[in-house]
């Protein structure tokens, strides 16, 4: 009975000893587990776990991997062989590149070298003489004490072996290397080759007597690791972005760093062409999402861009070759901006910078260039043309050959006075409305027509980054560029834009109340009474008038003839009008009657003046 209890204790000591050694070794050799260890709280004896109390060595929580390993190596008689393997990633691929090209990482060549092999074994081959009862009780205590000493010496020696230096380098969070330290735990191992043995040395710890066997620990290690040239890759700064260009909500009219500062800014080819090798990776911008996604262009490129890590093959769109010694320059290398705005799913990361080296002028500086060249820009202001061709067109197009129509103000909540094409509205009445009825075909999502409203003048700021307050005080309809995210949306790329029609207004709509409706209805009447002939008005004003008319139209009557429009297409919008009117609160009957009377008076007036000419309101 006593013997059984003692043997049980010894078995427990042996089992825990193996677990502890595994914990010590992996904590001192595997960077990921070491980080886990470092995050432990300071030692507080009252909160020490039971597992830490074993052998009086507090190592902190065990990673889940260790627990699994302990479970899989339950057989105490099997040796526990721990291989510490140094994995060298070739220049074609690195652990970081794998982020971009997972498929490439699968078959990427890598050298693996066992730099240390630890063997922990409970050796029962030599059966000691059975101790008597008195000795047995103290034997496990001595075993335990000696095990503690052995673990102490193992812990200290791990810091003196050559692999520790590599471990510390690879554990550095500020640097990434083309090496990795991995481990393999098993109960058997492939013997070393003769060549490997020649480069290794063995150290055998003095075995600890643990009746009926003994605990044996040995290590075979490479005496020199200088042949493994650990090259630090470009270290990603953890916090500072030196050339931060701001978020889309900041002033878009800002000069980007010029080339003389050694700063070459490009954007990726939106045609899917690969960026040049000199531009290894994208600087993570604060507004970019999915940083590591969609960069198949980075295949075979090292994230760091260190000279040996990537090829500097010239490409037609190469801008600048990287400078390997300056992190900032390396990450700023980009492709020159291109001319077409196409889908940019894969390149939604890099903002365009002033491509001083590119032949084409920066898109954001050119008011005459309606096409957004850098669709993946997130900060550059974009001039969106507003080519309302004809008085009937409500269709908004980004592509227009008429530059004069495109000199819209840059999209900024502050720059609401730069619209050269703006027309002063005589009424100055402003209001914001959500007008799905005015949707003319498929419009680029993210665009909205914002009609400035006198009540909404105060809404020049928008926390959401939208430009609902963009419209100037002119009262004429503008095309506001509204974006829910910090990415530009263009007519070809509407994946994530939340606006579905150009007339979507932002979340500002103060005219829902009946009171506001009535007030605006009256003002609309005033407006119509003072209206000038349609043909003499700008299209902006025409649309504005139409909106007013529609808005003030009585909801009960669906007769389109009650509405005064400026476009023949309004016929097609009858249903839409009805729908639009559905957005308005029903007017009182008295108001409707008054309005009808006014219309009749106007008609009579016109008829009297023109004689036989009959002007149908619905034709306007």
């Amino acid at each position: 009975m006593e013997m059984d209890r003692e043997s049980g204790k010894l078995e427990q000591i042996v089992s825990q000893f193996r677990s502890k050694i595994l914990h010590v070794i992996l904590n001192s050799r595997v960077p990921s587990l070491h980080h886990h260890y470092q995050q432990q709280e300071p030692l507080s004896l009252s909160r020490v776990r039971k597992s830490d109390k074993w052998f009086n060595l507090v190592l902190g929580d065990r990673a889940a991997a260790l627990e699994n390993l302990n479970f899989s190596l339950r057989n105490l008689l099997d040796p526990m062989i721990i291989d510490i393997i140094l994995v060298h990633h070739s220049s074609c691929s690195s652990s970081v590149d794998n982020l971009y090209t997972p498929s490439a990482a699968v078959g990427s060549p890598s050298d693996e070298t066992v730099i240390e092999r630890w063997v922990v074994q409970y050796d029962c081959a030599r059966v000691n003489a059975t101790p008597n009862g008195a000795d047995t009780s103290s034997s496990y205590k001595k075993t335990y004490k000696k095990s503690i000493i052995l673990l102490r010496s193992l812990f200290a020696q791990m810091r003196l072996l050559p692999a520790y230096r590599i471990f510390r380098q690879l554990s550095s969070l500020s640097q990434t290397y083309n090496f990795d330290l991995v481990y393999k735990v098993s109960s058997f191992s492939h013997p070393f080759s003769r060549e490997e043995e020649g480069a290794m040395k063995e150290y055998i710890f003095v075995p600890v007597e643990a009746f009926p066997g003994r605990l044996c620990v040995s290590v075979t290690y490479r005496t020199s690791l200088s042949e493994f040239n650990l090259e630090p890759l470009v270290s990603l700064p953890s916090n500072i972005i030196t050339d931060y260009v701001g978020s889309p909500t900041t002033d878009p009219i800002r000069s980007f760093p010029s080339s003389e500062k050694g700063f070459q800014a490009t954007s990726f080819s939106i045609r899917g062409a690969r960026p040049p090798s000199p531009s290894p990776f994208q600087r993570p911008h604060s507004w970019s999402s999915g940083f590591h996604k969609g960069l198949p262009l980075m295949q075979n490129q090292s994230l760091a861009g260190s000279p040996p890590a990537y090829r500097t093959s010239p490409k037609p769109y190469d801008v600048v070759s990287p400078q390997s010694d300056i992190y900032g320059n390396r990450i700023r290398n980009r492709l020159p901006t291109l001319q077409q705005a196409t889908a940019y799913d894969e390149y939604q990361l890099s903002p365009p910078f002033s491509a001083s080296a590119s032949p084409s002028p920066p898109a954001y500086l050119s008011g005459a260039n309606p096409v957004v060249a850098h669709h993946c820009s997130e900060t550059a202001p974009v001039t969106i043309p507003f080519p309302l061709t004809g008085r009937n067109s409500f269709y908004l197009s980004l592509n227009s050959s008429d530059p004069s129509r495109h000199s819209l103000p840059p999209l900024s909540p502050r720059s609401s006075k730069h619209d050269a094409s703006s027309q002063e509205s005589p009424s100055g009445i402003r209001s914001y409305r959500k007008l799905e009825a005015l949707r003319a075909g498929e419009s680029p999502s993210g665009l909205s027509i914002n009609y400035s409203a006198h009540k909404m003048v105060r809404d020049t700021k928008d926390d959401s980054g939208r430009f609902s307050g963009l419209l100037s005080s002119s009262g004429s309809p503008r095309i506001g560029f509204s974006r829910s995210s910090s990415r530009l949306s263009f007519q070809d790329d509407m994946d994530d834009c939340e606006f579905s029609c150009p007339f979507d207004v932002d979340d500002i709509d103060v005219s829902d109340s009946p009171a506001s409706q009535n007030v605006e209805g009256k003002k609309a009447l005033d407006f119509t009474a003072q209206s000038v002939p349609v043909g003499k008005k700008s299209q902006d004003a025409a649309v504005g008038m139409l909106v007013h008319m529609l808005r003030t139209a009585p909801p009960l009557r669906q007769d389109p003839s009650c509405y005064s429009t400026h476009s023949s297409k309004t016929v097609g919008y009858e249903g839409g009008v009805g729908t639009a009117s559905g957005f308005f609160m029903p007017c009182k009957t008295a108001d409707a009657l008054e309005e009808l009377k006014s219309y009749r008076e106007m008609r009579d007036l016109l008829l009297s003046k023109s004689g036989t000419r009959v002007v149908r309101k619905e034709e306007m």
Binding site: L57, K145, R159
Partner: protein, 226 residues
């Protein structure tokens, strides 16, 4: 009980290296003898690419630093001398009361001697020394010499640490049982070469255990035989 003695390999160090070298050696030894519950703490040397382990006990660290300060101050007074620092572990035994003494005695069961040969004069030296060598502007060759010398010291220090580990592994039987709640065994740090005798510092003390320690060892053996 036997008193195991370990004479560590002699190190040639410069004055400014004393503190780091001694900290490394003494803490490594104590870590192997602090068999109570500890949370090891890795400490990187500033002068050498060596990491050693501390127990993480603040009091222990403080005491070791004090002793090192004493050692350094003595070295400053006695330049260009081989010096020695001794770390001893003992057990406190209540001595059988006799008409000689009624005190408790210390039974040393282990002693470590760290031997240092301080080669360079300290910056603040006593007025007696006229062998001060002040290097104002070392040339390139001096820098190379310094770096090679530093590498040698580092290699020697690493050897000393391996020596400690080897000694600890080979000799375990003499270590007393671990007491509950005790982190490390009672210890003392002395400078036997400078042990005061008759009120004077003893220079050029023989490289052996101190007389006091030897006496204790002898008595311990007698008791065992008895």
């Amino acid at each position: 009980m036997n008193c195991e003695v370990c004479q560590l390999k002699e190190l040639e160090v410069e004055h400014f290296e004393i503190r780091e070298v001694l900290r490394c050696i003494l803490h490594t030894i104590v870590f192997h003898r602090a068999l109570g519950l500890v949370r090891p703490k890795d400490v990187d040397l500033e002068l050498f690419e060596i990491t050693y382990v501390q127990c993480g006990d603040v009091e222990l660290e403080k005491k070791i630093d004090e002793k090192i300060d004493q050692f350094i101050s003595w070295v400053e007074k006695h330049p260009n001398k081989k010096s020695q620092i001794c770390l001893s572990f003992y057990e406190v035994k209540s001595k059988q009361p006799s008409w000689f003494t009624n005190k408790t005695e210390r039974l040393y069961w282990e002693q470590w001697y760290a031997n240092l040969n301080v080669t360079q004069q300290p910056k603040q030296h006593s007025s007696k020394s006229h062998l001060t060598k002040v290097v104002v502007d070392p040339g390139e060759s001096a820098n190379e010499e310094r770096s090679s010398r530093r590498a040698m010291v580092e290699a020697s220090l690493r050897e000393v640490l391996f020596q400690i580990i080897k000694f600890v592994n080979e000799k375990k039987d003499h270590v007393p049982p671990i007491s509950e709640g005790v982190i490390y065994f009672p210890y003392e740090i002395t400078m036997p070469r400078f042990r005061v005798r008759n009120g004077h510092d003893q220079e050029d003390a023989p490289q052996r255990a101190s007389n006091h320690a030897q006496l204790i060892i002898g008595l311990g053996k007698l008791i065992q035989l008895g």
